[in-house]
């Protein structure tokens, strides 16, 4: 159906004014969109950050190989060369026993005095810290490392990292499903709210039908109204989620500083896009579904 421009203008005007004339119902619908999007947004942010942390864990994870103390120090670089030849190794840095001691002292901070005296009789070993392209090759690499002569011990926290990654993966999948479920619930609740709004105006729709209005002529103002309600709900929830997230980030950084989290400005664009498109389409689909029944006159 091709609409004349004046009809488009009419539909827009009707959609906008009816939000105001039915402001109580509009408020209820906006509130529903708001609640759904806020819960949705919370899960989205949670899962995005979990992803981010998982990536950081992989990035920071390393294999440590300790060099036998009987190996003379001038032969240590030879071992380093051998290590570098192994496939999938991204980086390999030497940490001498003196550096290792310094690092321990740094970690202990004020309690560093207990290490006094170890400077002369350093019990630590020289070691190489190794980063991999991908944690999945860890077993293979560890096997090859342990075959190099002069290496006393290969230490990796693979089990721990594996478990951590498994947990993050699980939580991520779970929150994805929860988000999907939430989206369905949101559409259901919102189309019900709109259904109430449409029900209150069924007489109006009925009259339009008897005066000879086509279905689309009746439908468009309602759809525009729904889209606008979705948009308003999306903008408000974006604002609330944004400020809330910033606040929670500050709280988290005060108590925990191991991992970096996504800052709000980093994800704002994606979040705004998701919220607005989600809100608008929920509103439009909800309206279209709810009005169908009353058009059959």
């Amino acid at each position: 159906m091709v609409m004349k421009f004046r009809t488009i203008r009419y539909c827009l005007k009707e959609g906008f004014t009816s939000i105001w004339t039915n402001r109580l119902m509009s408020l209820a619908s906006i509130g529903t969109v708001l609640a759904c999007l806020i819960i949705f947004g919370m899960f989205l942010l949670f899962s995005v950050n979990l992803n981010y942390i998982g990536a950081q864990v992989q990035e920071q994870w390393e294999i440590k190989v300790f060099i036998d103390e009987k190996i003379p120090s001038h032969e240590i670089p030879i071992i380093g060369e051998q290590i570098k030849k192994i496939k999938y190794i991204k980086a390999c840095t030497l940490e001498t026993k003196e550096q290792a001691l310094e690092n321990y002292k740094k970690q202990l901070g004020e309690d560093a005095y207990i290490l006094e005296g170890f400077d002369e009789f350093n019990p630590l070993r020289d070691s190489y810290n190794i980063n991999l392209d991908d944690i999945r090759y860890a077993d293979q690499v560890v096997q090859q490392l342990s075959e190099i002569p002069g290496i006393a011990k290969v230490k990796n926290h693979k089990e721990f990292v594996d478990r951590l990654l498994k947990v993050t993966e699980f939580v991520r999948m779970a929150s994805l499903w929860i988000m999907l479920l939430l989206a369905c619930i949101a559409v259901f609740i919102i189309s019900n709210t709109i259904k109430l709004a449409v029900f209150a105006r069924r007489k109006e729709i009925n009259i339009m039908k008897f005066v000879g209005a086509t279905d689309w002529f009746i439908r468009w103002p309602f759809i525009i109204e729904g889209m606008l309600i979705g948009l308003i709900g999306a903008l408000i929830s974006l604002l609330l989620v944004g400020y809330g997230y910033d606040y929670i980030l500050k709280l988290i950084y005060q108590s925990m500083n191991i991992f970096k989290l996504r800052s709000f400005s980093e994800i704002f664009e994606a979040l705004a896009f998701i919220f607005i498109s989600f809100g608008i389409s929920i509103g439009a689909v909800g309206s279209a579904i709810s009005i169908r029944k009353y058009l059959r006159v």
Binding site: M3, K4, R6, T7, Y10, S18, T21, K203, E204, N206, I207, M208, K209, F210, V211, G212, A213, T214, D215, F217, V297
Partner: protein, 228 residues
């Protein structure tokens, strides 16, 4: 022009509302449809405006064959007729002017045309000074006149009225019927279902009497014929 052949209507609960109706109402006629409650008047009106579909038989109105009419063509049938109801059915959130203009907006008439036609029709029904009021600010008679103006604004060939005076006091009812009479004189076919005995008796127009779903009487210059 309205032509009904062998129209029967049985509702899904088994009620037989109409049983073999044959009826012809020519262009420019004024016809009353009378009969006791439950005789089938309302069903007949509903069939004419395609709120209901007959169980059997054929209806032709204004060159629309209702049997082969598709769902998306229904609005165009309704545009070819003006409909007036007992309960007025005005849009509550629109002013008198907007209510009448609405019927022109749906046929995508130009704003210029709307600005010319609406005041003309409001003048015709005597409501020029109430254009900016809302339906709830008007009396019943005034609301029905707005409904009449809306029904007539697109120059329909047929005006269908379902007990248009049912909610009005006798004086106001007479005003409405006189208005419909004037409209009829300008060439519009008028079909009016009614209980108003005095009006039917003094108008001396065609009277079609329904009882138990069949036409029991069809007279030119007839009378109401029932004691209430």
């Amino acid at each position: 022009m309205i032509l009904l052949t062998n129209i029967s209507k049985t509702y899904s609960n088994g009620t037989i509302a109409l049983n073999g109706i044959n009826l012809y109402i020519g262009k420019g006629e004024f016809a009353f449809i009378v009969g006791p409650s439950g005789a089938g008047k309302s069903t007949l009106i509903k069939l004419l405006m395609r709120e209901e579909v007959p169980t059997s038989g054929n209806i032709i109105i204004n060159n629309f064959n209702l049997n082969s009419l598709r769902r998306r063509e229904v609005p165009y049938l309704r545009r070819s007729m003006g409909i007036v109801f007992q309960d007025f059915r005005l849009l509550p959130n629109k002013t008198v002017y907007e209510n009448v203009a609405f019927a022109m907006q749906i046929i995508e008439a130009s704003p210029k045309e709307i600005r010319r036609q609406v005041p003309y029709l409001l003048g015709l029904v005597g409501l020029s000074n109430k254009a900016k009021m809302y339906p709830h600010q008007l009396s019943g008679g005034e609301q029905q006149r707005v409904a009449l103006a809306r029904a007539l604004i697109n120059n329909p060939a047929v005006l269908i009225a379902d007990e248009p005076t049912g909610n009005l006091d006798p004086d106001t009812a007479w005003d409405i019927v006189k208005l419909m009479h004037d409209i009829n004189k300008r060439g519009t076919t008028v079909v009016m279902a009614t209980h108003a005995k005095e009006i039917v008796n003094s108008m001396k127009k065609r009277v079609i009497a329904l009882e138990n779903g069949i036409i029991v009487r069809d007279e030119e210059k007839g009378v109401y014929g029932y004691e209430i």
